[in-house]
Symmetry: C2
Subunit: 566 residues, 2 copies
């Protein structure tokens, strides 16, 4: 039994409080094991939902807003339906760190009253439930970020006067746009893992295949939205933390470039490390939903409230130019050009991911687009710059947060951070790393420019397409390679995941010809098991140059539709 | 006598080579002392110039390009005239570290041949001479940045293969726009001073009043352009280094926000310190010239060649909105609103600067604009964040550059950097400084937002106007306070200097009521001497929010014209 006041006890109390926050009628008596019920999405979860609730929660964010903004659905009904489904998701895959359903329903009632009075929506997100990774500060609830020692504090500090009062900038923007906030989702403590696990909740499982991880660090978002317990939510990404859970859960997830959306007032790990910035990005079932959210947020002039946001409103012209190219490509008069990277030279993708890349190439050819092999500056060199930035402080920040309660680091973070702080970087070493990063970015940029000679479009490639990870989703404690996502962070490029297919044990067979290029490559291929992976989502990412959100969303929509219209 | 191979000898050889690079017919026999000839601009320098040379060199950059682009003037004649006048400037105030007149004239001849063939200019800067601070790399010449140890190297390193070959990104842009590069100008070694002095050239004096400094660190640019030895040039600014020399020399100088213009491929001090970035900005005699250069450079899509530049083309709409407001203010239907800061609470401006601020206020009132007192978050707190960033590495970078030759630091840099490297900041301390900076920026941003309640325009203030320095120009070794400029760097705001008046010993009398707020305040006021300062230029700066270059240039032009049309 946990000692009184021990971190185990504090964690348990919080875990139980979360469980108890779920209304009695929404509780599930017996949760099946993964062996008993691998996939808990779709039909399985429907058993606890009414027809109306199913209709609401299976609707795309864009369509939900259309209905709430026309008074066809009440914000309250929508909020209740998602609170219910989120509660089921939590019980099945362990994804919520905070629930505030009562506040959400109260907010929804006020929106309904507003609508009744004005016969008009309050804003472009009127009545849309939005879930948030547990780095956002929301009034009335706490932010633990998975640290036991942060419970009852503001970012680990007591008596700041900000506890349960302060709100992150984007939270204020979402409220003023009419969104309904209703829960905050789980993260790996430290945030520095592609799996989601902490001592408060435990492990967050992938709802489509509960043998596998929901991804991380925005894994609670991935699992919740994958369960359709939320129509759209926000994660953050400093090495893949939006894209990995989006991909693992068959979702679209946007990693914008730094300075596009407001990060102001969010809790973070290693705050102030500014060589490679974490960014906030949306995750949802459709590109249209991502676009709805990004456009709405930019309409709030975030550059007037976040000193790190650049004044770049939503650029309709940039979006339209891309759409025009796509439309002309349908008649063969124009086309887009893509760089294709199937293997980064470090780790071989598992068979389902190889197949997804094959589907992508076939789709692009069918759409008359140009494909070129991507032969960029070595990705390994780029990724190593990022890994340095993650340990500039020798783990001082994360170990001090762990030490607050005495909890040990989870095994997913010890390879990078160990069990104790270590020697950090000097100012000169940090500066040298920053120069290396800029030089690498410049080299990559000029490589990208140089592809103009190969595309035949008069432009360099419009986007790069590559895997998000070498696996469809990671097995527990096996998320050990991040090179496919981290390269985007070191370049600060825009990237959006596109779900492509699902693992199929009958066709995704490991090649007998596989020759590992390294021990890591060998180890990662060894984690593939066709039967275990069967049914798991597989996605790729569309990568654009820095600050190309409009273009990349338009391309992701085009390709996503083409794949799924087959 | 200097020992063979000593730093003194290497410096002397370089100094003599520069002097000898000036064609014999352009040499001045006897250079008068400051006591004999305080002001060497205008009539004084005309004695060595032909009427045609005077006509060309006194012309604004915009008008020069108009003439070269219409074939009225040849690029060669223009280049020769500026090479001549720059040579005179150098002899009188010591401002050039590199001359490459032959290459310039050769380039000009090629432009003339192009024009003869195509009957059209090659680009928007066809035949415009542009001078560069000695941080830019230009093929055929070296970059010493004032360090004796950098002579014959590439940024202190030998055998890089880049010596005298590599060109900075902006240099390439300027060439492709049709500009003629002809010289590089002096800097204080280390770049970290508001005075320009190094062991190669010695001290750069203010041509309008040779008792005083030309400013720094872009002091060679300030002096050269002040002498009309160049129509427009580029400096850099991490604490005031564009604005201080612009102000001291009666010029317009733009400090854009970071990420607007390309810094890629320039040499720098403490490269890789990325908490507060140095930026590159133009200096000239008119706002129209600054705008010409900024617009031309943005037309080159610098974001495709510099990973730190944001994709923000010249925004005509933003400029036009400001111009529309200015035009309506003439009929009293609209107005602009300004925050006015006459004293930053730290150091009292000298009487000429106080009078310049008074002129500004009277001008704004006459133009029907609204003025509010600026009561921002304490500037001292902001500036202290910047001073930390300057010494993150404990002076390691600058001392290693000094050590290459064994030269000692000049007295202007020892207060900050001492004679030896010292304990630098840890990664955690750097991160904490970055957080403090972001919090300060946020606090200032919200103060700016809050002025909406006071302006009566429906907007917060359009700009802030304040001194550039507490003095019209600094006396030698007396440039000891930077708070008026550094606050802009820590906020990463856009700022443009506007020349207002000249010191007048008959009216700019120190107030007998002056009560110093500190010893520093006392010391700085003690450096004011009406007779010694007589004739010195006095400027103020117009400060806008981040990335507001279009707006601030439009306002600077409006106010500058109003002041000088009196």
């Amino acid at each position: 039994m946990a000692k009184a006041g021990s971190w185990q006890e504090v964690a348990k109390a919080k875990r139980e409080a979360i469980a108890e926050s779920i209304p009695q009628p929404w509780r599930i008596d017996a949760i099946p094991s993964a062996a008993e019920q691998r996939d808990v999405t779709g039909d399985y979860v429907h058993q606890w939902l009414s027809q109306e609730e199913i209709e609401i929660t299976e609707m795309d964010a864009v369509d939900i807003v259309e209905k709430t903004s026309a008074g066809i659905w009440s914000a309250e009904d929508v909020a209740r339906a998602f609170c219910h489904r989120a509660s089921l998701a939590h019980q099945l895959v362990n994804c919520l760190l905070e629930t505030f359903f009562d506040a959400a329903i109260e907010d929804a009632k006020q929106l309904d009253a507003y609508f009744a009075k004005h016969k008009a929506p309050i804003g472009p997100l009127h009545g849309l439930p939005v879930s948030l990774k547990d780095q956002f500060h929301v009034k009335g609830v706490e932010t633990s970020m998975g640290y036991v020692g942060w419970i009852g504090t503001f970012q680990g500090q007591k008596g700041t006067g900000r506890e349960r009062v302060f709100e992150s900038e984007m939270v204020k923007e979402l409220r003023s746009l009419g969104a309904i906030l209703f829960c905050k989702t789980s993260v790996p403590h430290t945030l520095m893992s592609g799996e989601t696990i902490n001592h408060i909740l435990g492990y967050t499982w992938n709802p489509k295949n509960r043998n596998l991880s929901a991804g991380g660090s925005s894994g609670g978002e991935g699992a919740l939205i994958g369960m359709k317990g939320s129509p759209v939510g926000f994660g953050t990404d400093i090495g893949g933390s939006v894209r990995i859970p989006a991909a693992f859960n068959g979702l679209y997830g946007l990693r914008p470039s730094a300075g596009r959306l407001a990060y102001e007032g969010m809790s973070n790990s290693m705050d102030g490390q500014n060589s490679v910035l974490s960014v906030v990005g949306p995750i949802s079932h459709s590109v249209a939903s991502l676009k709805l959210l990004v456009q709405a947020l930019l309409s709030q002039d975030p550059w007037l409230h976040d000193p790190l946001v650049h004044e770049i409103p939503w650029r309709h012209k940039c979006e339209q130019e891309t759409i025009d190219l796509i439309n002309s490509s349908r008649h063969g008069s124009e086309k887009l050009a893509f760089g294709i990277l199937e293997h980064d030279g470090q780790v071989t993708p598992h068979p389902p991911v190889q197949r997804a890349m094959k589907i992508i190439k076939e789709t692009l050819r069918r759409l008359n687009h140009k494909i070129i092999d991507w032969e960029p500056p070595e990705h390994k060199r780029g990724a190593e710059i990022l890994y340095k930035a993650w340990v500039f402080d020798g783990g001082a920040d994360i170990h001090s947060s762990l030490k607050l309660s005495g909890e040990p680091p989870v095994p997913q973070v010890t390879p990078l951070y160990g069990h104790e702080p270590f020697q950090g970087f000097s100012a000169s070493e940090i500066a040298a790393t920053n120069v290396k990063k800029r030089e690498y970015q410049k080299e990559y940029m000029e490589y990208w420019n140089s592809t103009r000679d190969q595309t035949g479009t008069g432009r360099p490639v419009d986007a790069l397409i590559m895997p998000v990870a070498p696996f469809a989703a990671a097995r527990r404690e096996q998320c050990k390679y991040y090179g496919y996502t981290t390269i985007v962070n070191v370049l600060d490029y825009t990237a959006c995941t596109v779900p492509v297919t699902c693992s199929n044990q009958n066709i995704d067979i490991a090649s007998p010809d596989f020759k590992p290029v390294s021990e890591l490559d060998q180890d990662i291929m060894a984690t593939y098991d066709p039967a275990l992976y069967d049914g798991a989502h597989v996605a790729v990412q569309i990568v654009g140059r820095r600050l190309q959100e409009e273009k990349i969303l338009a391309i992701a929509e085009h390709i996503g539709q083409a794949i799924h219209s087959d």
